[in-house]
């Protein structure tokens, strides 16, 4: 079953085309990585899918057209996202933030999420005062609050140490497998990408350059030339 589908997504800023007729189809339970050089349009595509940034084209969630829905409505339908910079309220406690997302989405208090992401020891601290790695964990916990079935993650490993990135990759793999969550992840850390992705879409200059399984992408000469270089 297709969990998330985008057709003909186009976004222009004045004379600059950030995305040009991009289409994407993600199976339920799949982890899809979006990779590409800076400016390729990865975050713009995440913004388009989450409804943060209006664009041309059609977005379907579990077969339903959500193209005209607000980000909040998409969130309540089960499409959740995180940001490149953490999407936290620095002057709210960790507990209040989880509660905010939980109350808004399904009316629960979200305390199960505190435990699942091991955030209970930090529950009464202001989110702005906890460490960066903890903030990223809170960010992921916020995105997972309310049992979303589809998760859009924009560089969740940005700024994390090698060890933290490894833990994050394992955690994401575990969440996707255990809860059957569909994940679309934008990430520059290729260790994380190749560790968790079922399929990879490569964007370049606002267009899809290649799409396929990690091994195929690693071996694709166009992708190696445009983005991966010798790192792959």
């Amino acid at each position: 079953m297709i969990a998330l589908a985008a057709t003909g997504i186009t976004k222009t800023y004045g004379g600059f085309t950030a995305l040009s007729d991009v289409s994407l189809s993600v199976e339920h339970g799949e982890i899809r990585a979006l990779i590409g050089p800076n400016g390729a349009g990865k975050s713009t595509l995440i913004d388009a899918l989450s409804g943060r940034n209006p664009c041309l084209g059609r977005v379907e969630l579990m077969g339903a057209d959500i193209s005209r829905l607000t980000p909040g409505k998409r969130r309540r339908l089960g499409l959740s996202r995180s940001f490149q910079k953490t999407s936290i309220f620095p002057r709210m406690t960790v507990r209040a933030q989880i509660e905010l997302a939980a109350r808004a989405v399904d009316g629960s208090d979200g305390m199960d999420v505190l435990d699942e992401f091991d955030l209970r020891p930090l529950a009464d601290r202001l989110a702005g005062d906890i460490g960066y790695g903890d903030q990223r964990r809170l960010d992921l916990a916020l995105a997972m609050t309310g049992q979303p079935h589809t998760l859009l993650l924009d560089e969740p490993a940005a700024g994390l140490s090698f060890e933290e990135s490894k833990r994050l990759a394992a955690h994401l793999r575990d969440i996707a497998a255990r809860r059957g969550v569909t994940v679309v992840i934008v990430e520059h850390d290729m260790d994380v990408v190749f560790a968790i992705a079922d399929t990879i879409t490569v964007l370049q200059l606002g267009q899809v350059l290649a799409e396929g399984r990690p091994d195929d992408i690693r071996a694709n000469p166009d992708v190696v030339r445009a983005y991966l270089g010798s790192a792959a």
């Binding site: 943060r52 909040g72 808004a104």
Partner: protein, 282 residues
């Protein structure tokens, strides 16, 4: 002196109950609502008409409810459609609405001043050392405290209050986390308008009703919101109390500077701390 301080508190309480709605609306919608004084005026006039038939207390409740409905309409028909436009457009539209409201009041109630009788329950006098003070004025102070306490509890402990605090800090982020910001904004504008209407009714027995009453208090309300910190209730509360004292004590001790002093304080605070006394805390 004690009487002057109490009168300062009365004006401060009235200012806060009006400005709190303005602060909440700015926090949620990031709008400068020039029609807020008109909501206060409409509340007072509606209260006046209802009170002549049903008495003060039904006038207070019905006027607040009517203004809540008008606030919801204002949000749905004006603020929401214009939310992504240049802030100057909303400023001009709300200014236009204020002028229309003034014309409507002049057409229905005329240019003469009116007065609303205070409720018999609060018509007495309290004896203070060396002087006396009307019970109704003490009730206005209590009304201001009730509004402050009620809003504070609502924001701190209710589900909607949690949404309001989040959306005031960052509406986009709140929406991404699932908060229906349009619905929350509608509720907040309705509450703000209801408070403006109720403030108008509460003020009516001590101030005369005239079409110019909107403009008279609107400027002070804006000073309260700006000095307090745009969108901040705590800041608005502190500033309203200070401004109330300046207004009344200024008349006694430095009448020639009374009108000027609030603006001097506003400029000083904006230079010293551009985000206002309380920053952007709700």
């Amino acid at each position: 002196m004690l009487i002057q301080c109490l009168n300062g508190l009365v004006y401060g309480a009235l200012l806060f109950s009006l400005a709190s709605g303005l602060a909440l609306m700015f926090g949620l919608r990031r709008i400068v609502n020039f029609s807020h004084g008109a909501l206060y005026m409409l509340g007072a006039y509606l209260g006046y008409s209802i009170a002549t038939k049903l008495g003060f207390w039904p006038a207070l409740v019905l006027s607040a409810l009517a203004l809540a409905g008008l606030g919801a309409l204002l949000d749905a028909a004006v603020f929401r459609p214009l939310q992504d436009r240049d802030p100057l457009i909303i400023l001009l539209v709300t200014f236009g609405l204020a002028l229309i409201a003034e014309d409507v009041v002049q057409t229905i109630w005329g240019n003469d001043t009116h007065s609303l009788a205070m409720p018999a329950l609060l018509a007495g006098i309290v004896e203070l050392p060396g002087s006396s003070f009307p019970v109704y004025r003490i009730a206005i102070i209590a009304f201001g405290l009730l509004v402050a306490g009620g809003l504070s509890l609502w924001l701190k402990f209710s589900r909607v209050g949690l949404f309001v605090r989040a959306a005031s800090f960052n509406p986009t982020l709140a929406a991404i986390q699932g908060v229906d910001t349009d619905r929350v904004s509608l509720m907040v504008v309705a509450v703000g308008a209801a408070l403006a209407g109720a403030s108008g009714v509460v003020a009516a027995p001590i101030l005369s009703l005239a079409p110019s009453m909107a403009a008279d208090i609107l400027v002070d309300s804006f000073i309260v919101v700006v000095v307090g910190g745009l969108g901040s209730l705590t800041g608005a509360f502190i500033t309203a109390l200070i401004l109330g004292q300046i207004n009344v004590l200024g008349i006694v001790f430095a009448p020639e500077f009374t009108a000027l002093l609030p603006f001097v304080i506003m400029v000083g605070v904006l230079i010293w701390k551009p985000t206002g006394l309380a920053g952007n805390r709700v």
